[in-house]
């Protein structure tokens, strides 16, 4: 029941975000979408992913987007509005994606998959959160992708700092 409420909120706010012309309203409805997706993560026993979603997307990315919109708006004394371009291509591609996804989901037949039938509702199995398991996995099975990702982030940081510095004339 809760799932359907949050799913409906996510879909509706997502649709509003796409359809509204006001970029700022789009940003704020993105907030609602991200929050309800985080709630769905919680319902799936993925507490760490849910909180990370809040931390990274709401606390970081969304604030950055809103900052960008607010600082760059009203340049020519008009509120920020988005324009419709590439209507035909957009509709075609999104319809194709929808058809492809529906076809795949319909073909799979989730209820007959063995791992879903065997799955236990008690996913955490006495553990209080998924953090410890995630930590162990990250330091053993997935240590290489983890380190590469951290290296990538470091490169991005250095690049950002380099771009932002004043290049003094020698």
């Amino acid at each position: 029941m809760l799932f359907y409420i949050f799913a409906a909120v996510a879909v509706l706010s997502g649709a509003y975000m796409v359809l509204t012309r006001n970029l700022l309203y789009a940003g704020f409805s993105l907030l609602l979408t991200l929050l309800s997706v985080a709630a769905i993560y919680v319902l799936l026993f993925a507490d760490f992913v849910a909180v990370t979603q809040l931390m990274v997307y709401v606390g970081g990315v969304l604030v950055l987007i809103l900052f960008g919109i607010m600082l760059s708006s009203r340049v020519h004394d008009k509120s920020v509005m988005s324009e419709n371009v590439n209507v035909g291509w957009g509709i075609t591609i999104s319809m194709l994606t929808l058809i492809g996804l529906s076809y795949t989901i319909w073909k799979v037949g989730f209820s007959s998959l063995p791992w879903i039938q065997q799955a236990d509702t008690n996913v955490l199995a006495g553990q209080k959160s998924t953090v410890q398991m995630i930590g162990i996995k990250l330091m053993t099975d997935f240590v290489l992708p983890f380190e590469i990702a951290s290296l990538l982030l470091l490169i991005a940081l250095i690049g950002a700092a380099y771009i932002a510095t004043d290049k003094q004339k020698v």
Binding site: L24, F28, L31, D47, F48, V51, T52, L54, M55, V58, G59, G60, L62, V63, L66, F67, M70, L71, Q127, K128, S129, V131
Partner: protein, 367 residues
């Protein structure tokens, strides 16, 4: 639902006391009297202020973005109030004891920032916009040293659960499920050979279990002043430049909500500081051989005495920190924006990074 109502009532009570204390402390520090008329020593002043605000007209500026303007105070307060969900008030009283409480708290507070932007934008006012921008920039920057200081505590405690961190800092250590055979050593180091598991009191607080957390505590406290926009970090509300910052257009009930959110933020950051560094709801008095001060002032878990002692210690420590916040406000002048950024990025963040590294090494010594 009961936890929601209880926490809300408690919070309202604390905020009203705090608003009164703010005026009185300010007055005494400036050699004035402060409020004296309403009630004995003016103690009803803040209650009357709230009643006055509730009666005022709710003015929405004509040029404001009405939906965002009306929504923003609710979002700001909801974000701060949601943080209280994971705060343990006594050994067995916690609104929502989730396993990743610390991480959740850091994340949910960042929602506050979105609300501030919404208020600043919705007001359609230059001062409000500038105030919101400054406030958000400051909060986002100071989240980094605060987060690193909290991270060092998490590394020492090996837990993201506020209740588990609380149990680790006192004589009740072995009562927490999963910690039955843990032991506390003086300064966390077994080689010193002084077992403090049953001594408890101040010797098992996190700032004693790992003395370098004292530095982390100072960093967290400074950063938390900035996160709740308190002086000397109050450039978002600098009265002489911005009138009042992001809430300049708000009046009546909505202003009351914003005011409440701001003071709740102060209470929340102080509570978190107490829980993570200053022994949470544990008593500061240690057991001294036959003088079982810690046991006497802890009470029995699950009974009324445990709840009362736990709540008493937690709230009194919080009030000490809140008093410190008030005192600092009237002691230090406001920082300039470049000083603000210098302090955050060139002082607090590097020191916090070193503390995180040292906390890792200290943890290795502890096992």
């Amino acid at each position: 639902m009961l936890a929601f109502l209880l926490t809300l009532m408690l919070l309202l009570g604390i905020v009203i006391v705090l608003a009164y204390a703010e005026r009185k402390v300010a007055a005494f520090m400036q050699d004035r009297m402060g409020p004296t008329e309403a009630g004995p020593y003016g103690s009803l002043q803040s209650v009357l202020d709230v009643l006055k605000l509730l009666q005022k007209e709710d003015i929405v500026p004509a040029a404001a973005d009405k939906k965002l303007f009306k929504l923003a105070p609710i979002l700001i307060f909801a974000a701060v109030f949601a943080g209280f969900a994971v705060i343990p008030f006594t050994p067995d009283l916690i609104p929502a004891g989730i396993g990743i409480g610390v991480f959740y708290l850091l994340a949910i507070i960042s929602l506050d920032v979105v609300g501030l932007l919404m208020a600043g934008w919705g007001s359609n006012n230059k001062y409000a916009m500038l105030g919101a921008m400054r406030s958000v920039a400051q909060i986002v920057s100071y989240e980094i040293p605060a987060g690193l200081a909290i991270l060092s505590v998490v590394m020492i405690c090996q837990s993201l659960d506020f209740q588990e961190i609380s149990y680790q800092q006192g004589v009740l250590l072995n009562r927490f499920p999963g910690l039955e055979f843990e032991k506390n050593w003086l300064f966390g180091i077994e080689a010193l050979g002084i077992n403090t598991t049953n001594i408890g009191g101040i010797t098992t607080w996190n700032i004693f279990r790992a003395p370098l957390l004292l530095v982390a505590f100072v960093i967290y406290f400074i950063a938390s002043l900035a996160e709740s926009n308190r002086a000397p970090f109050d450039i978002p509300e600098a009265e002489s430049e911005l009138v009042a910052g992001f809430h300049v257009e708000y009046s009546g009930f909505r202003f009351a909500i914003l005011f409440l959110a701001e003071y709740s933020m102060m209470v929340l950051v102080s509570l978190v500081a107490v829980i993570l560094f200053l022994g949470s709801w544990n008593t500061p008095l240690p057991n001294l051989t036959t003088l079982k001060l810690a046991n006497w002032t802890t009470g029995t878990v699950g009974e009324l005495s445990g709840i009362l002692w736990g709540g008493f210690w937690l709230l009194s420590k919080t009030f000490v920190l809140l008093f410190l916040q008030l005192q600092i406000r009237w002691t230090y002048p406001r920082l300039r924006v470049d000083q603000l950024m210098y302090l955050c990025w060139k002082v607090l963040t590097p020191v916090a990074l070193v503390i995180v590294l040292l906390a890792g090494i200290w943890r290795l010594l502890m096992v």
